[in-house]
Symmetry: C2
DNA sequence: GCGCGTTTTTGCGCTATCGCAAACTGCCTG
DNA sequence: CAGGCAGTTTGCGATAGCGCAAAAACGCGC
């Protein structure tokens, strides 16, 4: 198997406080793999046999209800881990992971985790931070869903995506991977119809430029205002 | 300070895999305190100087928006930890903790945490599990808020409370601490008015019996059906 | 036992958002 | 280059749930 270059991952939060030699040892336990766009990496409910670190591309983690509806749990950006089921004591993946763009990942077998944590306590600490951060983000999302209306939630969602995976252009910030109205609906707890209407509205105000699975924020600053305005203030 | 009886807490998830002598040492670092009903234990945004284990009573963790709206993050039952901000790398409490009933807690200084996890790795592992579980619960909650309507969410919320803190009576299951319509609204992302209407409806169908800050599930089984029925099925 | 503050109930209009259906667009395939 | 398909837009009701306001019920303290 091709050796992974240590210097490429040494700075990631996951490996903070890990000595170079140790990192080398950790990486030796991993293999890498490539997933083309629109291929599943793992399915909700499957045995959690591996955990992952995304090197390139973008991955969507989504949860499906018994009746088939989906919500997007999060989008994974390069440098982030996913599929950490075992770290939190789950035997099965609680969500489905899909490569939304051609993606390259490092894969460790779940079975290696206990040994790694024991030898490199920093790994455990870092993972704890990561999971904790995600917990807080979830709470924020719940708060938003409880107190804000759809337009504000969509604004927040896009700003987060821009922040996480935005590509600066001279005429705005482009979200750097294919994302549909449906996806945004599933991130904000609404329907693709409503998202479409909102984006159409913004487009006619020059706030965004958007096409098929493509969104560019032209006026991020004004979208921030939308995201933060209180339930009643201002209108068109 | 009164010594805490080891045998009372040894079986808790937090101390799984910790040897009795070690447990003794851990407990020596804690002090206990009593909070009367309706007193704050810590406030959102305050320095996370301590973390807690609830021994008796019930604690509500709630998050407040800049505009003053609140949501209930969770209710803490005896045996559970709360205020773990530091474990997840947060310097400030992300929520407010309020004793909703006379409560007794164990309190460790945040500063003791690094030493404790180093000496007793099982603590770190157990905490990881706990935080992971809460993350999954949050995701479930987001899923529900996205896909179910209010009545179903209220049904689920009450069933969870009954499960966590239900007291079996011969005529049903009583939720064992004071909880208002407003509280339930803040758990499910709706308004107290809507919760009141729903409970009135259930009451007239004999599904629940409720009063001021008091709820008894008379027909848990039928409420389960309500919670699970798909968006369109059956009606009155 | 009475008065008071809090919680709960309920009526009534309002509207944000859904849900369905149909038309449209742009891309990719053959 | 034509055809087909996935994604998007938009119109038009329908409605779940909100928000306000007022009344009622309850439990508490004096």
């Amino acid at each position: 198997m091709a050796k992974v270059d240590t210097s490429l991952v040494a700075h990631l939060p996951m490996f903070a406080g890990v000595k170079p030699d140790d990192l080398d040892e950790i990486l030796r336990e991993a293999r890498s793999a490539r997933y083309p766009r629109n291929t599943a990496i793992f399915e909700q409910g499957a045995d959690a046999q591996s955990f992952f670190l995304l090197l390139h591309g973008h991955v969507r983690a989504a949860k499906t209800t018994p009746t088939g509806e989906q919500i997007v749990v999060r989008y994974v950006a390069p440098g982030e881990t996913f599929g950490l089921a075992m770290a939190i004591g789950a035997a099965h993946y609680p969500a489905t992971a899909l490569a939304v763009d051609d993606s390259v990942v490092l894969i460790w077998p779940t079975s290696a985790w206990p040994r790694l944590v024991e030898r490199f306590p920093a790994l455990a600490a870092n993972t704890m931070q990561t999971v904790g951060k995600r917990l807080q983000e979830s709470h924020t999302r719940i708060l938003e869903m409880s107190t804000q209306q759809v337009e504000q939630r969509v604004a927040h969602a896009l700003l987060r995506l821009a922040n996480q995976s935005g590509k600066k252009l001279d005429h705005g910030i482009e979200i750097d991977f294919p994302i549909s109205r449906q996806d945004i609906a599933q991130m904000t707890g609404t329907t693709l119809h409503t998202v479409s209407r909102i984006l159409s509205g913004w487009e006619s105000q020059g706030l965004v430029e958007s096409g098929r699975q493509r969104i560019i924020l032209r006026e991020p600053h004004k979208i921030v205002v939308l995201a933060e305005r209180s339930p009643d203030s201002g209108a068109a």
